[in-house]
Amino acid sequence: MTDITRRRLLGGIAATSLWSGLGFPLVRADETLKVGVIHMGAISNTGWEYYQAEAWRALQAKYPNKVEVTVLENVTDIQSVERQFRQLAIQGHKLLFGTTFSQYASLKKLAPQLPQAHFECCAGIEAGKNLGVFEARHYEGTYLTGIAAGRMSKSNVLGWVGAFPVPQVIYSLNAFLLGARSVNPDVELKVVWVNAWVDPAKERDAVSALVSQGADVISGSPNTPVQSEAARAEGVWSIGSTGDFSEYVGETQLASFELDWSPAHIEATQAVMEGNWEPTGRWRGLGEGGFIRMSTRSPALPASVAEELDAAQAAIVAGDLKPFAGPIKDQSGELKVAEGEELSDSEINSMTWLVEGVQGRVPS
């Protein structure tokens, strides 16, 4: 930052007065690294924003004196998102994190324009100029929890509450059934789309509808405590998919997996501090440094099933078990993945078909 433009000067003055006004000590840029994070929604105790917040909290905990994190939440509209990112960059934040796919398009445009900062976007599609992306292989988690569901179902009918039929939800539920069928070939998965990202009352009705048609293990995406609570009220099992709701529903939640974005935040910060940050795309699942980890297991889960889960997890981490390895048929019975083949990352990421045994449809 050698050339002082009018805008930077004004921005600097604004930033300085803001920080001193808030009572923060003024620090020189070379002493601490300023990191900015913008949340689209409010940070609560569960859900997407919670895991985003856990990542920068882990970052703060790791570098208490070297990193200073500025967090903005509830920045909902795209214009504000762009303005705030610009402002953070001008204020001297060297590393900026986008927290949702909805910010990806803005960041793709902004990142090349603001070379004084580096950008990272969670759930972005691909790395761009000055923009890294990271996303989790949710399907590894749903495959494992599917094993638990397949073993515990007595009716051989599982239920899935889906928000909208987007590829990420589709590959998650496909892997859930593939996991279940790996231990119980007779099991089926009924899917209900609620056509809303957030509508707890409708999610509850969806669970009732699934249970009334025989489902005895309920999962979904985005998974919410409402679904698990409704499952418990109906007297069936639930699965914590990208969230652990055992605190609310106790041992009726069979198993859960959670998101962990802290490796992405810490690695990027480290790279920026060392001056060797490069825009990369990272799509990681289970294992060391991964973005997914298995969490609570119900005491109701028999030891044999727990062992089965451990073995499958080890195999996935080692790369011996690929959830989307053939043979896989679609709903119509057509062979989509031949024996000995597996789906590529881009094929998984653009999945719009349902595997054999899923009762439901993808609106065309």
């Binding site: 409010a42 209900v192 809303a196 509508d199 409708k202 009705d205 609310y248």
Partner: protein, 306 residues
């Protein structure tokens, strides 16, 4: 309980918050006040009622808190729209935005908390009666209350003198004023009543329907209620039918998928809005139907002295 009865009951549960909110909005609009803040008032009612039940364990305290907070918010709207003559649409939209934001802020510590069934359902008393006892167990007291409220509103509007005065205010605020009716007081009462009903609709969702607090719990039902008033052409009877019709649509949408009927679910999701647009088109075709249906002074701020 048979399966069909369970489905019908689920549709009634889904329709009840719509019924409460729409009946309240109907009274407000019949007095010439267009309050688009229903969604916001429902959110505030939902969190206030949920918090009250959560901490006190008493359902009726929750209903009271929800009604009071919804009414208070409506009162604020009344000050803007009736006394200060702010544009109704702008003030209503502001109320919705305010209510949603305040609701998620206040509700933060309660996210994910749930209520146990004993707090939500009543026992003893009526439920132990033979024959009709089970009906009281299955049908929540707040649903019974909604039917009572409906009957009361129908009687009030169609059969009582006070209802006639209220309607006259909505048809021609200036004439009612000239006749010497306390127009502003009537409009305030109607607005606050609408807020109380929206608040009760909110607590029904958070306490009875979901029994759990999360953000976004109302999820646009306030807007469906506003649409429902138009769909019902400002008549309580059609409001009742419409509420259960729209509630039934939700169940049809979800059950249709599970059973595999192959119905286009997005279309069913959009039904309340589509139906409202169709009704609007139908009543707008002729001047006479327009005059018969829409309160003529709806949404107009008039220069009256109260």
């Amino acid at each position: 309980m048979s399966e069909t009865l369970a489905i019908v009951l689920a549709a009634v549960v889904a329709g009840t918050p719509l019924l409460y909110a729409a009946l309240g909005e109907l009274i407000t609009e019949r007095a010439g006040i267009l309050n688009l803040g229903v969604e916001g008032m429902m959110v505030i009612g939902a969190i206030a009622g949920f918090a009250a039940v959560y901490y006190s364990g008493n359902l009726w305290l929750g209903v009271l808190a929800a009604g009071a907070s919804g009414g208070l918010l409506a009162l604020a709207f009344g000050v803007l729209a009736i006394s200060l003559r702010v544009n109704h649409v702008a003030a209503g939209l502001a109320l919705t935005i305010f209510g949603i934001s305040l609701g998620s802020y206040v509700g933060k510590p309660l996210v994910g908390q749930s209520l146990s069934l004993s707090e939500v359902q009543l026992s003893g008393g009526l439920t132990s009666l033979p024959l009709i006892g089970p009906l009281f167990r299955e049908v929540h007291p707040l649903i019974w209350l909604s039917w009572l409220v409906f009957a009361g509103i129908w009687f009030f509007l169609a059969r009582s003198r006070a209802g006639l005065v209220l309607r006259s205010v909505g048809e021609s605020t200036a004439s009612a004023d000239a006749l010497g009716y306390p127009v502003m007081r009537i409009q305030y009462l109607a607005t606050v009543f609408g807020g109380v009903m929206a608040g009760v609709a909110g607590v029904f969702i958070s306490v009875v329907y979901t029994s759990i607090w999360t953000e976004g719990i109302v999820a646009g039902r306030g807007w469906i209620a506003v649409a429902l008033v138009i769909f019902a052409t400002w008549r309580p009877g059609r409001c009742l039918v419409g509420a259960y019709l729209f509630g039934g649509m939700t169940m049809a949408e979800l059950l249709g998928q599970v059973i595999g009927l192959g119905v286009p679910t997005e279309l069913l999701s959009a039904t309340p809005y589509l139906a409202t647009v169709i009704v609007l088109v139908l009543i707008s075709r002729k001047d006479s139907t327009m005059r018969l249906s829409v309160p003529a002074s709806l949404g107009k701020s008039l220069d009256i002295k109260g």
